[in-house]
Symmetry: C2
Subunit: 304 residues, 2 copies
């Protein structure tokens, strides 16, 4: 099924305990589309400034990402600066320069309006609705959001949620959105807002998928080297939605496998700065790591 | 294989967001032995005071726990008072009255010296060594410890660790013991101190088992009602060691299943105050919940 992502393409300046990188390729749509490209053709809708480097365009093209929806606008590209402490779970934002992203207002081409699988990156929920209004008959819509929108644009966000098939949030976002500390009750409350499926990302603790009245708990690969968590969530969503798009199936089994594929892609993303790990990643490495997740989670029947 | 536990039998006064109970049955050896009794005969070595209630003795006897090693000493029973906030992950100790536990010095009977499976509850590592010195030919020794001993009695603890087959700790204890934040590196450092296997308990995030160069990640059952986390860790260890004792096997497959059995028993323990959930629990409920963990963790092969 055809896959479309709308989100940000950005420059990131990131410092972790393991080093610092200035003005590297970042942004939700970048991580998503690069990750998804290992499983499915993917079309990217985003905006960059006049300063966006040709080498980044070449990289995305090289990954087979469709760039007809990548607009170049007068001005500079969105630039995020942040750092991480030793626990690497929470980024501290030092500076956000929206630049051309400030007036981003996605208009989809006739071809993009036919997308069957759509992912709404973490952008203003008013823009997320605007995108949904243009897609004619999506079979599954995935969406990300964050505390900033849950706090500041709740009504618009609730409009999005009514039309979302799979919502991706972390523990804290789920609790804030639901106004409920217990994660099972929070999940139930969020699904009552619309999403048929809810993925709760828990970083080094893996992920939960709530799907109807089923729950699936996916492990995280215990990593001894974690370089830069930036983009882990979007890489996860890219693997997840890319896999769903590839199989063309929307059954519980597929979504469970998609959570593992997402986890696999996130585990690669954090091994290097930016999308650098995806530059050399091969499909056989992806398959091998999927097998590692299987061995990590496997156990037998209880014996009497 | 015969199973022996040395630890505390206590009164607990506990307050959680869901209520308060005064002077209920508690203690590491109580939770451990009650939980283990669902899988294996278990012998308990501990001390109580003159105030220890006959009904608690009857309860343990009713569960088939061997009490020939339960000494009654002049004075009062160990009494712990604590409470939990909304996240239920960390107990705050309000009061600790060691009472008869202060001079506890376990002497094993000739029969207990023959135990093949031994669990050292969270007590002074000097006492843990004293117990190990008396057991003649254990096939597997499990042990628990805590920050208090890691800080205050490190040398004695290191002596214990050299003789331990399975160490049970939580994330924070593992990091403190190893002096290393990354959990994989911490596990490697701890196993270099002696334990062939390391279980890292992560509460609502499940548990990790490090076994040689294999890692197993066990999910936690997402619970919508969690009443009282007291004793969850000891109930986990009781289910784990009880299951190992029952199967009589010491292979990687058995230890993975044991982690799930431990998780099952912990998930029951937290549903009520004290050991109350174990009073009505049946083997078929245990088997049913094991099946729930299987469905929770199950996923298929990646499809091309």
């Amino acid at each position: 099924m055809s896959l479309l992502v709308v989100g940000s393409v950005a420059f990131d300046t990131v410092e972790t305990p393991f080093g610092k990188r200035e003005r590297t390729l970042g942004g939700s749509a970048t991580y998503f589309s690069t990750s998804a490209s290992f499983f499915s053709p993917v079309e990217l809708v985003a905006v960059v400034g006049e300063d966006f480097d040709a080498e980044h365009v070449s990289f995305l093209e090289g990954r087979g990402v469709g760039l007809s929806g990548l607009t170049r606008a007068p001005g500079r590209t969105f630039h995020w600066t942040g750092n991480y402490g030793l626990d690497l779970n929470n980024a501290q934002t030092l500076d956000t320069q929206l630049n051309v992203f400030e007036t981003f207002s996605p208009d989809l081409s006739p071809a993009h309006r036919q997308a069957r699988v759509v992912f709404l990156g973490n952008i203003d929920p008013d823009l997320q609705v605007r995108v949904l209004d243009q897609v004619e008959a999506p079979r599954v819509v995935g969406a990300d959001t964050m505390n900033f929108w849950i706090h500041g644009k709740r009504d618009a966000l609730l409009k999005v949620l009514r039309r979302v098939g799979v919502l991706f949030v972390n523990d804290a976002e789920a609790r804030l959105l639901a106004g409920e500390h217990n994660i099972v009750k929070a999940a139930r409350a969020i699904m009552a807002m619309g999403p048929q499926r809810l993925v709760i990302k828990r970083g080094e603790y893996g992920a939960l998928l709530f799907d109807g009245d089923q729950v699936f708990s996916a492990p995280a690969l215990p990593l001894d080297e974690l370089f830069d968590p930036t983009g882990a969530g979007d890489s996860f969503a890219g693997g997840f939605m890319g896999y769903v798009s590839r199989t063309g199936e929307l059954d519980p089994r597929t979504f469970r496998e998609a959570v593992i594929v997402g986890s696999v892609m996130a585990s690669f993303a954090v091994e290097r700065f930016s999308v650098d790990r995806f530059r050399s990643l091969t499909p056989s490495e992806v398959a091998e790591r999927y097998g590692k997740f299987q061995r990590l989670a496997q156990f037998g029947d209880m014996r009497a």
